[in-house]
């Protein structure tokens, strides 16, 4: 893992890996959405609205995966002081927030024809909305830590601790439909088991793989951006002091 601690080595790898994730990711994700739109039959209970599944579920997974990435990278930053871990955590925040927002918006649109309401304050929806607010807080804190150069490592550590503490919401989201009564359905896919018919499951899995690749490509691109910003700042500071 420490082999990638060298930013130059990481950048060399990111340059070829980023397009390798983004291009197949876009093809797979949008191909799976087209598959879900044109080839999948309507569901017996949900009718045509079942097609929202192919965008709603992958974005929900990635909303939670984004914060899990932040938490793991923050732990690595705090414990092993890996120089790229903090950058990886910060890079995952914006795509994580974007997919959380997409999940909430598409879920609300799906709820209207199936539940008869745009929103209910139940465990699943409320904990997912809290996740979006946690992302906003994390992004604001990380930006403030970067701007305030005088705060240095201490501010970065506060951001990492916030990333770790916020992870407590992830199991709450996951178990919310089991712990509390909800209009939201219980989990359809658990470890090794699925109650979804293959007609819906395959395009869903391909959409999930595609959106995950997009997420990975975006994180790599944002890491490149953050590294370039840090290198520019360091260079300008050195010049100002010379």
């Amino acid at each position: 893992m420490h082999g990638f601690a060298n930013p130059a080595r990481f950048l060399r790898m990111a340059r070829w890996l980023m397009p390798l994730m983004l291009v197949p990711g876009l093809i797979l994700a949008f191909g799976a959405l087209a598959w879900g739109l044109f080839m999948v039959p309507p569901d017996r209970l949900m009718g045509q609205t079942v097609r929202i599944l192919f965008i709603h579920v992958p974005s929900a997974w990635l909303g939670m995966a984004g914060w899990s990435t932040i938490a793991i990278a923050s732990l690595v930053e705090l414990v092993w002081r890996h120089p790229l871990a903090g950058i990886a955590a910060r890079a995952a925040a914006v795509p994580g927030a974007a997919f959380t927002a997409i999940c909430l918006a598409t879920g609300s649109i799906w709820a209207r024809p199936t539940w008869g309401t745009w929103w209910v304050w139940d465990g699943r929806l409320t904990s997912f909305l809290i996740l979006l607010f946690l992302y906003f807080g994390y992004i604001a804190l990380a930006n403030a830590a970067q701007r305030d150069a005088a705060a240095g490592e201490g501010a970065s550590r506060v951001t990492a601790i916030f990333g770790l503490v916020g992870a407590v919401n992830i199991p709450i989201i996951n178990r919310s439909v089991i712990w509390w009564n909800s209009l939201h359905q219980p989990p359809s896919i658990t470890a090794g088991k699925s109650s979804i018919d293959g007609t819906f499951l395959w395009p869903l899995l391909i959409a999930a793989i595609g959106f995950t690749l997009i997420f990975g490509g975006v994180v790599l691109a944002r890491m490149r951006m953050l590294l370039a910003d840090i290198q520019t700042e360091a260079r300008l500071r050195r010049k100002a002091m010379a």
Partner: protein, 46 residues
């Protein structure tokens, strides 16, 4: 009271939000990355 809704309108709205949101995220990220790397290269030249 039974409400008759056109389900396709909801499907299309959700897909447009998902597709446009994803494309904006990817496009904005690539633009910001290129801008930051150009700025770094300019700082190197100075």
């Amino acid at each position: 009271m039974h409400e008759k809704l056109d389900q396709w309108q909801f499907v299309m709205a959700a897909l447009v939000i998902g597709v446009v949101g994803t494309l904006v995220l990817v496009g904005w990220t690539l633009w910001a990355m290129q801008r930051a790397e150009k700025r770094r290269d300019k700082a190197k030249e100075k």
